[in-house]
């Protein structure tokens, strides 16, 4: 019984290490193909539209309501020790440094990561990836590199827009619901906001964009077993993106704290 238990732990550990190794090789190959020609500009531009432009509504809506809720909640907390004037500063710092990149990353993972995994997974099970190889086209360069690069570039752009929409949402609630003075709210927002607050959020966003598109490509690329396999790849892409975003967020925050 004990030996069976140990064997089970060993099997799980080996499987985990194998997955880590496989993913590491996939990542190295992806990064290499991003920087070496040929570059598929048309595919890259299409991915910019698909990952960035079409994610705007969902990211914008998330940012708007997050900013609105944040203003209300911080007001509740800060009014307990008469620090209502800090609402604007905490909203903008909370959004730019943390909430806009993380929530945008999670929303894009749900929308784009799943779509990438499903598309590439379907291409795998219908032999379209094999067809690419027979047509002398490297699937890493054609499918993976443009998506990962587009993810790294578009997510910071989305987060920048989310910052603006989120702060506007906070402003709207503060002035319309909480009776803050508009000009003093704006002054408090910008007086204490530093460039590094925004930049650290954008760095996080770029890493999250890399994670989301890489996970989508990785799980799609390695899917097997027909429709069920594609479904499994999609779920795994979203779940692993969520986990990696949250885990890497902590380490990035530590790294970018100063």
């Amino acid at each position: 019984m004990d030996w069976n238990f140990l064997a089970a732990i060993g099997r799980v550990t080996l499987k985990f290490m194998q997955a880590v190794g496989h993913l590491s090789l996939f990542t190295v190959q992806t990064v290499r193909h991003i920087f070496t020609p040929p570059f598929y500009m048309r595919i890259f531009l299409r991915q910019l539209m698909s990952i960035g432009y079409y994610s705007l509504p969902v990211v914008g809506l998330t940012a708007l309501f997050t900013g609105m809720v944040l203003a209300l909640q911080i007001y509740v907390g800060s009014s307990r020790f008469n620090a209502e004037s800090a609402v604007a500063t905490i909203v903008v710092i909370g959004l730019t440094r943390e909430l806009a990149p993380v929530l945008s990353g999670l929303m894009v993972a749900g929308r784009v990561g799943a779509a990438i995994a499903a598309e590439i997974g379907t291409m795998r099970v219908t032999e379209q990836i094999d067809a690419l190889v027979t047509l002398s086209t490297n699937p890493f360069k054609y499918l993976v590199a443009p998506r990962v690069l587009a993810g790294m570039i578009t997510l910071p752009a989305l987060v920048l827009i989310a910052d603006i929409i989120g702060v506007s949402g906070g402003f709207l609630v503060a002035t319309e619901v909480l009776d803050f003075n508009a000009s003093s709210y704006i002054k408090n927002t910008f007086d204490f906001l530093e460039t590094r607050d925004v930049v650290s959020g954008l760095i996080k966003a770029s890493v999250f964009g890399f994670i989301v598109s890489l996970m989508g490509c990785y799980h799609g690329f390695n899917s097997n077993g027909g429709a069920q396999g594609v479904g499994r790849a999609t779920t795994n892409a979203v779940v692993s993106s969520f986990i990696l975003i949250l885990v890497s967020d902590y380490f990035l925050t530590v790294l970018l704290l100063d």
Partner: protein
């Protein structure tokens, strides 16, 4: 049958190729030569290793041992860049066409021209429309999405894609599977006409005897990962080989063991 214009030097050569998946040995010391300009059809039951052999030749799977030569070049262990160069002279028709859903028909046909041969889009589109014409599809099909086509039409587009770059070698994976007899005959005729027109070497995987005899100069029978018979297509009816006889007669009794319980 296709006109035999092949020379003795093999265009494709497999020597003692072995491939396993776990404990299952799919290819066992498989050896086969295909001459330049020859049309060879490999027949055999499901799961005998025909498609695995094709994937090993194309580099989609790596055999454990053995040698595979294309035009005299050993392809096992080739770098991806060298393999891409080798595959520029080949075309492939997949069992279910494997057309790219995200691209219109003409871009599917012109894909190899644009990506591997650097042909400009405008010129590539003209060539694609010309190739679609060769497989009996009009220019009005060029801008359609592959998902809007019947399986027969998809196969014809797949065939147009396979011949688009005028390759020296063309592979066909079960070209008539899933088609009605009339469409199957249309595809057979197209394959024969296109390959004769190009003078290409072809390797076809099939278990359709009628199709095999129509397309092939020679036929090889694979059983349990090895070639058990190879000979001219016109002699298959009188091969005297018990495996071939059982296969072409579709007899349940004989040396070919089936993975099913006999009644």
């Amino acid at each position: 049958m296709a006109a035999s214009q092949h020379t003795d030097a093999p265009m494709i050569s497999l020597k003692n190729v072995c491939k396993s998946f776990g404990k299952k040995h799919v290819l066992k010391d498989l050896s086969l030569d295909i001459g330049k300009g020859e049309s060879l059809v490999v027949i055999g039951g499901s799961g005998t290793g025909k498609s695995v052999m094709l994937k090993c030749i194309l580099g989609l799977l790596q055999p454990e041992s053995g040698e595979i030569y294309i035009n005299g070049q050993q392809v096992i262990g080739m770098s991806p860049v060298e393999r891409e160069k080798t595959l520029r002279n080949t075309g492939m028709l997949f069992q279910y066409a494997a057309l790219f859903d995200s691209l219109p028909v003409w871009e599917n046909v012109a894909f190899g021209l644009m990506q591997a041969h650097g042909v400009k889009r405008k010129e590539a589109k003209d060539i694609a429309i010309e190739k679609l014409g060769l497989v009996g599809l009009g220019p009005e099909m060029a801008n359609k999405n592959p998902s809007a086509l019947s399986i027969g039409m998809q196969k014809r587009v797949g065939l147009a894609r396979a011949i688009a770059t005028n390759p020296e070698i063309i592979f066909f994976d079960e070209p008539t599977t899933g088609l009605d007899p009339i469409m199957g005959d249309v595809i057979d005729n197209l394959i024969r006409d296109c390959t004769e027109h190009l003078g290409a070497t072809t390797l076809t995987i099939s278990h359709d005897m009628e199709s095999a005899q129509k397309i092939g100069d020679r036929i090889a029978l694979i059983y349990k990962g090895s070639v058990v018979w190879v000979g001219p297509a016109k002699e298959i009816e009188n091969s005297g080989n018990p495996y071939v006889e059982q296969f072409i007669n579709g007899d349940i009794n004989g040396p070919i063991e089936l993975d099913i319980l006999k009644p």
